[in-house]
Symmetry: C2
């Protein structure tokens, strides 16, 4: 029996993770006795849950907050809380406060609580910065080109060192770009990877700001939830001291996305994509990873999406899209 704490539970991945755990009743090989869901805005408890669920509005970087969250010694902690790349770049102090000091506060709270939970840390492929080899190997250096990537890389180093010292039992999973993100379009430079699938499937025009040969590393929300739940149970001995790793995704080109959309949604659907090149976005995207060799994660049992068509069909199924 284990008490699960999810920090960042109100976000898209957080909500899907909680739903999955409610559905499974267990995580990391253990039955879930209770859940605590925390976020800067109070998360909504999932409907029809048998187990006790506490929902807390909590800013991890505020002194004392992390201590309160771990006071009852949750055995599994998912740390998904972060401000996103664009905001961390625009607001330097806020990014460091939430993404770096927030993570440090959590680790320090656990150290002072004097117990050793499994902490699953959501990191990002933003810890890498161009130039890249064609497929980025597991031993490629971390030279982020954003403050967000820097803060995530610092979190990784802390997770590894606190784990090495036996103060926590951490696993850092570097998530690929999540496609198809449900919901409204957002201002993220990566938004179009989801938008060119999501908008047309909902009968709305989508703008493609880059050329169709752009390739990127993607995973579905389902796969992301799978990475996190698998990380909750993966054997720390087998992982060893290198506690952070890139998750297996799919290297997908925009052309492949459009081809799949045409196959699944029809030609009229694909025609809703309007190509409108944007130099700024093209330049940003040129600095992003295209593909990885994730041998370590695969060996440890992390599972990628089957193919891009499965990503699209799962989006349709999960979000109840009527074609």
């Amino acid at each position: 029996m284990t008490h699960v704490l999810v920090i960042g539970a109100a976000g898209m991945i957080g909500r899907k993770l909680v739903d999955q755990m409610v559905s499974d009743g267990r995580v990391g090989g253990k039955e879930i006795s209770r859940m605590t869901l925390a976020d800067v805005v109070e998360p909504t408890a999932p409907a029809g849950v048998a187990m006790p669920v506490s929902c807390v509005a909590a800013d991890l970087a505020t002194p004392g907050v992390a201590d309160d969250l771990v006071a009852h010694h949750p055995g599994v902690i998912f740390h998904l809380a972060a401000i996103v790349s664009g905001e961390a770049e625009a607001n330097f102090e806020k990014g460091y406060r939430i993404n770096m000091q927030g993570t440090l506060s959590l680790l320090e709270a656990v150290r002072h609580a004097n117990y050793c939970p499994r902490i699953v840390y959501a990191s990002s492929i933003a810890v890498f910065g161009a130039p890249f080899p064609n497929a980025i190997p597991d031993d490629f250096h971390q030279t982020p080109l954003t403050s967000y990537g820097t803060q995530k890389a610092i979190g990784e180093l802390l997770v590894a060192d606190y784990s090495r010292k036996g103060l926590i039992d951490g696993i850092g999973v570097r998530l690929p770009t999540i496609v198809v993100r449900p919901g409204k379009p957002n201002k993220a430079a990566s938004g179009f990877f989801s938008g060119i699938i999501r908008e047309p499937l909902n009968g709305v025009e989508a703008v493609l700001p880059v050329s169709t040969d752009v390739m990127h590393w993607m995973a579905s929300p389902r796969a992301a939830v799978g990475f996190l739940t698998h990380a909750a149970g993966v054997d720390g001995e087998a992982v060893g001291p290198r506690r952070n790793m890139t998750m297996p995704g799919l290297a997908v080109t925009v052309a492949q996305e459009i081809e799949t959309l045409t196959k699944v949604g029809g030609l009229e659907c694909a025609k809703l994509i309007r190509h409108e090149p944007d130099d700024t976005i093209m330049r940003i995207v040129a600095g992003w990873p295209r593909a990885f060799d994730t041998a370590r994660a695969l060996k440890l049992g992390f599972v990628a999406d089957e193919n891009f068509e499965a990503i699209v069909r799962n989006y349709i199924a999960d979000e109840g899209i009527a074609l």
Copy 2:
């Protein structure tokens, strides 16, 4: 004309760096107008200096201290202050306070002072952790196996991000193990690399705790000072966003060390090395880097020692050893 601040000026490398700058009267292509020397214990001003030198006892991690140090906008800052590997491992909180928060305090002080000095950050090959390829390339990942290495790697990430944002103009130099360290033997696990040269040359017995085929990455104090002064003037544009790099050293085996000692000091001198295997030290050393490919640093003009014999002869010359 530039004002130079050296933080960690009382250490072995700090003192030699200051002596070199006093002798040159300039650094990074600029004449030195004044120097501020800071350390946890007040540094001694070098003798017979024409330029104004201020000596300050300062703990970088204490709030306000870093702000005072940069109040007069030193144009070049050498940040050498750190507690060493063994102490950072034994005292977790102190290590993070001095090595991580201290570095962050300096960067934040400069950000708030609203100017953009060249900061030369002394990092370490301890940012790497085994297993390694035979020669570690410039793009090898940072997976430190000590808290010291973790703290140095975090400092590197901060130096790169603050530089990218134009808040500082930083260069991180990963120093090899310094051989021959002058002075008394210390308790560092790496101490024997220097000890087996230094003690015999001073007529004293030295203990060798590992086998003679152990290889390690070394640089002399002279080379280390050269790395730091070169970093003060290296073109930031040429360096690009990857602001941290491994310095060119020599991959030297213990057998080569002994051979050189025999050549320079004679057979009787080399006989003062007593082989006394120590399992603990052997295990620690097995996790250390043996050799690097430092193409980037070489291209940027950083210069390694000529060979190990030059290292020994320079030690003899610099420390006034009578053979």
